[in-house]
């Protein structure tokens, strides 16, 4: 009896300290549970793995975005970095560079772009919002110049395509990579000095400095990681299709950066910094991916789908703000 109480208490404590995450999990479970009402085809292995693969890109980018948000910053250039990395990897593959080298080079490109963002923020004393808005526009422009505005595709070897389109068992490789990165991200944030220092910097920069934390170094690293995660996602997309295609002006929903920010914040992070978890970001991405997927099954007008997604984001941020208020 006592044992059981202790267990319940612990669960209660966990739910209490992770309210956003718990609520999201509940919501996702409910949606999946009632999905058969809408369509018997929804809850199939094929569709669930599809769903996970569909969200894997956003989820991966969200981890990097979460880091920048945790230190009180933001990275609006992730979508553009994905594009640039996608283009680079296809161009390199076209030039017969070995696949392993392509992977290394494009991940370095992502980190280099992140380093540029970080340097401008740290040494230029600039607001992350404005820096990454500027670099976003510039990276888009460069991608355009290099690709000459055209889609590019090469004779990608199977080993390259395998990264994006392959499976282990029936699990798509991007899904596996996503879960590995979520795991690593959680460990780094929860259990390493670097993770604690990220929360500290986001919570109070001056105090972090006075605690012996190299605040600038942390910031640079975080933006490099954000670039790296965007690069991983960009690589996975490119390797999925073996081709690069510029994203044309969207039909309403924002680009990858806004999806990732929404996922992170819906997952309980605060844009003020110092608060948020990798699990929350994943759940945020999962929720919107799930709804997006489900709405196709519901056969709703696509514009209503966008409306519903916007409304869900709004409801989620209002909810987590109301939690903050009570504290």
């Amino acid at each position: 009896m006592e044992m059981k109480l202790g267990w319940r208490n612990r669960l209660g404590l966990m739910i209490k300290s992770h309210q956003e995450e718990s609520l999201l999990t509940l919501l996702i479970v409910i949606i999946i549970a009632i999905s058969p009402i809408f369509s018997p085809d929804f809850f199939t292995e094929y569709n669930l793995f599809n769903l996970l693969r569909q969200i894997s890109y956003t989820a991966i980018v969200s981890i990097g975005m979460l880091l920048t948000i945790l230190i009180g910053g933001i990275d609006l250039s992730v979508g553009s970095t994905m594009q640039a990395v996608g283009l680079s990897s296809i161009l390199l593959i076209q030039n017969d560079m070995p696949v392993w080298l392509v992977v290394i080079v494009v991940l370095l490109i992502g980190m280099a772009l992140g380093l540029i963002n970080g340097s401008l923020i740290v040494y230029g004393l600039l607001q992350p919002f404005i820096v990454t808005l500027g670099t976003k526009i510039i990276i888009d422009g460069l991608t355009l110049v290099i690709s000459d505005g055209k889609g590019v595709s090469g004779n990608a070897p199977d080993s390259f395509l395998e990264i994006g389109a392959g499976h282990v068992g029936s699990v798509p490789i991007p899904v596996i990579i996503m879960f590995v990165l979520i795991f690593l991200g959680s460990v780094v944030l929860n259990r390493t000095v670097f993770g604690r220092q990220i929360y500290a910097v986001g919570s109070n920069r001056l105090a972090a400095h006075n605690s012996g934390i190299h605040v600038n170094r942390i910031q640079l690293l975080v933006y490099m990681l954000s670039g790296l995660f965007a690069a991983i996602a960009g690589l996975l997309v490119a390797a999925r299709t073996g081709a690069f295609q510029p994203i044309t002006v969207g039909g309403g929903a924002g680009g990858m950066e806004l999806n990732a920010i929404a996922a992170v914040v819906v997952g309980g992070a605060s844009l003020a910094g110092g608060k948020g978890t990798v699990g929350g970001a994943f759940l945020g991405a999962l929720l919107s991916g799930l709804l997006f997927n489900l709405l196709v099954f519901l056969d709703l007008n696509p514009y209503i789908q966008q409306f519903v997604l916007g409304a869900i984001v709004l409801a989620a941020v209002i909810f987590s703000a109301s939690k903050r208020q009570k504290r």
């Binding site: 929860n190 929360y199 919570s203």
Partner: protein, 496 residues
């Protein structure tokens, strides 16, 4: 009594499950100077925040001039004639002094701002209080104490019948204190009622008519100042008798640990400062605010660069250039302003304490050992008597004194050679003060040396083996514990 201006009837305020104020019954008489005292977290600020419209009481009522009022906003309180000088500096840094003073009450005609009137009125107000600040200056270009003076001017300029001051004297130098006290005298001549919170009992005994004591959110007593004395008041505040305010030092100083020679900064901010610090020694740095003493400590902790001179630490030459490097050399640092410079307010007490020690103390196989970290945090909480005893509580929700203890706790995990304490007890109540002083003595037993910057002279006199006095960037005197008196220190602290 028929000259009661304000009455609190059974007022309570809760934060979460805990009462910050519980069933408070106080009457303020017209024109009196009413002091409120109590330990950190006793509920003083909460009480006056209900009077100034920041918080609404959960229970009870506030009777203002015979009528029950609901003070739903600071604006509502102001329009009733209640003006407040809050504990934390309240300012808009990017706006001018005049705009700050008249914010929300801008002079206007037909709805339009009258800029010239704004500056003129501000000028007149400041001069009438002997404050020599240009009303066109931006707040951010002023020193801390000057900013506090502007706030005082603002509080006065609201033609209020009740002025509430929450620790107004905490940041001020002697000159500025005089202006504050003159201003209070002026207000009293105008029959303005004053509610005054301070941890400096001397001020209270010098000025107050009556004093209200709060403890643990409860109203302990309200008494005429003539009918009490310091000892009795302190006993009533902390609920026990206070034997030894400054605990006797238990260890002898040892060898020279730190040898500073000819420390200087460009522009004469610091000129040829030389001193030594021994093991197990407490050295105090005294002086008016901004006289160079805090530059010395900031240089040592790697926060101020571009200095000349020699620093020898433990026999080795040492050129500090970053906090981390100073930490690795054995220097720890409790900054002056715990909220902006020290604490991670939205993080737990545990995380605040462990942050500097994670690397050396809590890593197992490269990962943080959370149970070890928790054990250490719990033991520090007990050792420093941090209240509440909850390692997961966000530091921002603790009272000032407990925040200070959590901050000091950060430096007690790893072993350091020197602890720099800036204003270690600013805004800290007597009980917590004693806890901190006792902790200082324990640290000395562990071979630590302490460099203490404080604007509270009694604290320096009570705790330090030696006191170095600074004035205008120069070290003007050095006194041993036996030689030092307040008068002598002040003599050398003032510019000549």
């Amino acid at each position: 009594m028929n000259n009661v201006i304000l009455e609190l009837k059974g007022v309570s305020k809760k934060f979460g499950p805990a009462y910050a104020n519980q069933n408070i019954n106080v009457q303020l008489e017209q024109g009196e100077f009413h002091a409120i005292v109590g330990e950190n977290g006793a509920g003083k600020s909460t009480l006056i925040k209900m009077l100034s419209g920041v918080h609404l009481p959960d229970e009870g009522e506030i009777i203002w001039k015979g009528k029950a009022v609901k003070l739903t906003s600071p604006h509502a309180a102001q329009s009733q004639g209640i003006s407040t000088l809050f504990q934390e500096i309240q300012e808009i840094p990017a706006l001018s002094v005049a705009e700050n003073i008249f914010l929300g009450r801008e002079p206007k005609s037909m709805g339009f701002m009258q800029w010239s009137d704004l500056f003129k009125e501000a000028e007149v107000l400041l001069r009438s209080l002997n404050i020599m600040i240009d009303p066109r200056t931006k707040m951010e270009d002023l020193r801390i104490s000057e900013r506090k003076m502007v706030e005082i001017a603002r509080a006065v300029s609201i033609k209020a019948e009740l002025i509430i001051m929450d620790e107004p004297s905490a940041n001020l130098n002697e000159d500025e204190l005089k202006i504050l006290f003159d201003t209070i005298a002026l207000l009293r001549r105008q029959n303005v009622t004053i509610v005054y919170i301070s941890h400096r009992l001397r001020e209270i005994f010098a000025m107050a008519d009556r004093v209200t004591v709060l403890r643990d959110g409860k109203h302990i007593q309200t008494i005429n100042i003539r009918d009490t004395n310091e000892a009795a008041l302190v006993t009533s505040m902390i609920g026990r008798k206070l034997e030894e305010y400054y605990p006797a030092k238990t260890v002898e100083s040892g060898d020279v640990l730190l040898d500073v020679k000819n420390l200087s900064l460009p522009d004469g901010e610091l000129q040829n400062v030389s001193f030594q610090l021994r093991k197990r020694e407490v050295v105090g740095l005294a002086g008016l605010a901004g006289s160079g003493q805090e530059l010395v400590t900031k240089i040592l902790f790697g926060l101020v660069k571009g200095f000349t001179g020699n620093i020898v630490l433990d026999g080795r030459s040492f050129v500090p250039h970053s906090p981390r490097q100073s930490m690795n050399a054995g220097i720890s640092f409790v900054p002056e302003d715990r909220k902006t410079q020290g604490l991670f307010l939205n993080q737990s007490v545990k995380d605040n304490m462990s942050i500097t020690a994670l690397f050396k103390n809590f890593l197992t196989g490269g990962l943080i050992n959370k149970s070890k970290e928790l054990r250490k945090a719990n033991s520090l909480i007990a050792q420093l008597s941090v209240r509440p005893q909850d390692p997961y509580k966000h530091v921002g929700n603790l009272s000032g004194g407990n925040q200070q203890k959590a901050l000091i706790g950060r430096w007690l995990i790893d072993k350091y050679k020197i602890l720099i304490l800036e204003e270690p007890t600013r805004g800290v109540d007597v009980g917590a003060k004693m806890d901190i002083y006792q902790e200082i003595n324990k640290l000395l037993e562990q071979d630590l040396a302490i460099l203490m910057v404080s604007s509270e002279l009694p604290e320096l006199l009570g705790m330090c083996d030696r006191i170095l006095v600074f004035s205008e960037g120069k070290m003007t005197a050095e006194f041993s514990r036996d030689e030092a008196t307040e008068e002598k220190i002040m003599e050398y602290a003032f510019p000549r």
